[in-house]
């Protein structure tokens, strides 16, 4: 069975006055796919999500969500199947957690009897649920926000900076929930600054810069595209480092780090050969570590690349 994309954007552009927030973005998201959208503030991530939610309308291009126009006549039908966790979520402080979720459940046409299970799932305990949202900590508000996004088993989940303010344990359980949903066939679009925590969570990464999509692919594809060096870190005695430097010869950049660690940088394709050469030298290596370029570095690389291209074009 060939699957239809749940979200398809073709050349979508959004302008606010003279400022172009989203620039000719093409994007297709499949069911059961967890896509991370990265980019710094003002890169167009939130603007793109607002377009997909139908809160704003594109100035150019075509956007379809679950086969319909999110800002058109199908909107109520589409939004019933969409969950959204906004950046800096806010609730009415005078309502209790339970009242808040009941309110949103009724708006979505979901029976409220499923709400206790939802609270349990996001880890909000019964005493907390009965308290007013105004007294909540950031972590509790974020859990409530996740609970409302999960109402009615959405087919698409938009999560804008979902883990800001969560402690590491909570982050862990948050990503477990996301993984379960993805396996159940939900499309998840995740925006984040915390790039390192996305590794291992996202099937695909979309890099945004100044409203344009500058890269799109799985982490390994992006690694290949970025051609960033892999670093091999060796812990060994001081004098051995000298011999190693001599023997490795040219082609391998060698830097010394603190604590008797030597770092070798080489292209991804050469790393196996490089490791062989290091081992073949009968130097006394106490530890070896291979460091892949992190998402942070790749992100920085793609931004530099786009900036350079833009300058060249001008």
């Amino acid at each position: 069975m060939t699957q239809e994309p749940t979200i398809r954007a073709v050349g979508v552009t959004k302008r606010y006055g003279s400022h172009t927030a989203v620039r000719a973005v093409d994007l297709a998201l499949m069911p059961g796919e967890c896509v991370a959208m990265v980019g710094h503030n003002g890169a167009g991530k939130s603007s793109l999500i607002k377009l997909m939610l139908g809160l704003t309308t594109p100035d150019a291009g075509h956007l379809s969500v679950l086969g319909g126009d999110p800002a058109g006549a199908d909107a109520p039908h589409i939004r019933r199947q969409v969950g959204f966790l906004p950046e800096n979520v806010a609730f009415h402080p005078s309502m209790t957690g339970r009242e808040t979720l009941d309110f949103y459940a009724r708006l979505k046409g979901v029976p409220c009897r499923g709400n206790p299970a939802l609270f349990e799932r996001v880890g909000l305990e019964t005493p907390a649920v009965a308290r007013r949202v105004g007294t909540y900590s950031k972590g509790m508000r974020q859990r409530l926000a996740l609970a409302q996004a999960l109402l009615g088993d959405p087919k698409i989940l938009f999560l804008d900076e979902p883990t800001t303010g969560l402690d590491p344990a909570l982050r862990q359980s948050f990503y477990e929930i996301v993984a379960t949903l993805r396996d159940a066939g939900t499309t998840i679009l995740l925006c984040s600054h915390a790039l390192t925590e996305l590794e291992g969570q996202a099937d695909r990464v979309v890099v945004m810069s100044r409203g344009s999509k500058v890269a799109d692919g799985s982490l390994s594809t992006l690694r290949g595209l970025a051609r960033l060096p892999v670093r091999i870190r060796l812990t060994l005695a001081e004098e051995d480092a000298e011999t190693l430097a001599r023997r490795m010869g040219e082609g391998a950049a060698l830097t010394r780090l603190a604590g008797g660690v030597v770092e070798l940088a080489c292209a991804n394709d050469d790393k196996v050969a490089a490791v062989r050469r290091v081992i073949a030298n009968d130097t006394a290596i106490t530890d070896i570590e291979i460091v892949q370029p992190s998402l942070d570095e790749m992100y920085a690389h793609f931004l530099r690349q786009t900036d350079a291209q833009r300058e060249a074009a001008e």
Binding site: Y16, K50, L53, L55, T56, T57, A75, P76, H77, R79, R80, V82, F84, P86, N88, V89, A90, F91, H92, S94, M95, E99, F103, Y104, R106, L107, K108, G109, Q148
Partner: protein
């Protein structure tokens, strides 16, 4: 329809929680009771009942107070929710923009109606318990005063919603609300008087004046209550004016209703086009 009720219900609960409902109701009730007790004292020889006295004083008070309460309650309704970020989440739900706006308006209007009916109703109850002979007509006039007060409150709530939808900043919305109150409640009548004096009756005839009075919800309300009922207008000293005003009660109520519908309609139109 259901969505409207859910949103209106939430707004009412909010009002109950942040003491708006209690505060407004107490304020209205205490002022109404004070006026009715004052009004009940010196009526012997004038030939009008305590109810008429209360209507005249209460409706004069309402013109100042109720628009202010309504505007304070409503100016933040849209711009505040956008500012706090609750609007983005709300609009990502399967609700239409007009449902959000009308639903919230219904909630706020219900708060005003509740406070007015209960507050002024308590004054009516006090009068009834006072033991004086009160005619059927007097009660009708009193009920009409309460009803039209609710309508006046709704009109200014709608104006507050319009202010709240027009701008992107809460401070500006508050400024517009205050300006609306100043102009419609205080300055309009002064300007009208000034115009009449300056003109000396050359171009501004009764027809034009009547039209100008309809163009302000506060004046439509005043005319309705002070000229609509014979006993009241005798007391208020507006009997002469009542003979000049060609509008029936229905037209004046219609004007008030239009002052609810027009700003609200415009606010809905603006809000549906708004890029959040």
């Amino acid at each position: 329809m259901n969505t409207l009720l859910i949103i209106a219900g939430k707004e009412i609960r909010d009002g109950l929680r942040n003491r708006w409902v209690v505060a407004t109701t107490l304020l209205m009730a205490s002022l109404a009771l004070a006026l009715s007790f004052l009004g009940a004292a010196p009526t012997g020889t004038v030939g009008v009942g305590p109810v008429e006295v209360t209507i005249v004083s209460l409706s004069s008070l309402t013109i100042f107070l109720l628009p202010l309460i309504a505007l304070l309650l409503s100016f933040d309704a849209v711009v505040g929710e956008i500012d706090r970020g609750t609007m983005t989440l709300l609009l990502s739900y399967p609700v239409a923009r007009w449902q959000v706006l009308i639903g919230k308006f219904l909630g706020h209007a219900a708060i005003i109606a509740f406070a007015t009916v209960l507050g002024y109703g308590s004054a009516g109850a006090a009068l009834a318990l006072g033991g004086a002979e009160i005619g059927h007509d007097s009660w009708r006039a009193f009920a009409a005063m309460i009803g039209s007060s609710v309508l006046l409150g709704a009109a200014f709530t709608a104006l507050g919603y319009l202010a709240s939808t027009l701008v992107r900043d809460r401070g500006t919305a508050a400024g517009i609300a205050v300006a609306l109150w100043l102009v419609l409640v205080l300055l309009y009548d002064i300007a009208l008087l000034g115009l009449l004096v300056a003109d000396g009756g050359k171009t501004v005839d009764a027809g034009v004046l009547n039209g100008l009075l309809l163009a302000n919800p506060a004046d439509a309300y005043r005319l309705f209550n002070l000229t609509g009922f014979k006993n009241v207008s005798l007391l208020a000293g507006t009997a002469g004016l009542a003979a000049q005003v060609q509008f029936s009660g229905a037209v004046l109520l219609g004007a008030l209703a239009a002052w609810v519908a027009a700003p609200l309609g415009l606010a809905v139109l603006l809000f549906s086009k708004r890029q959040i």
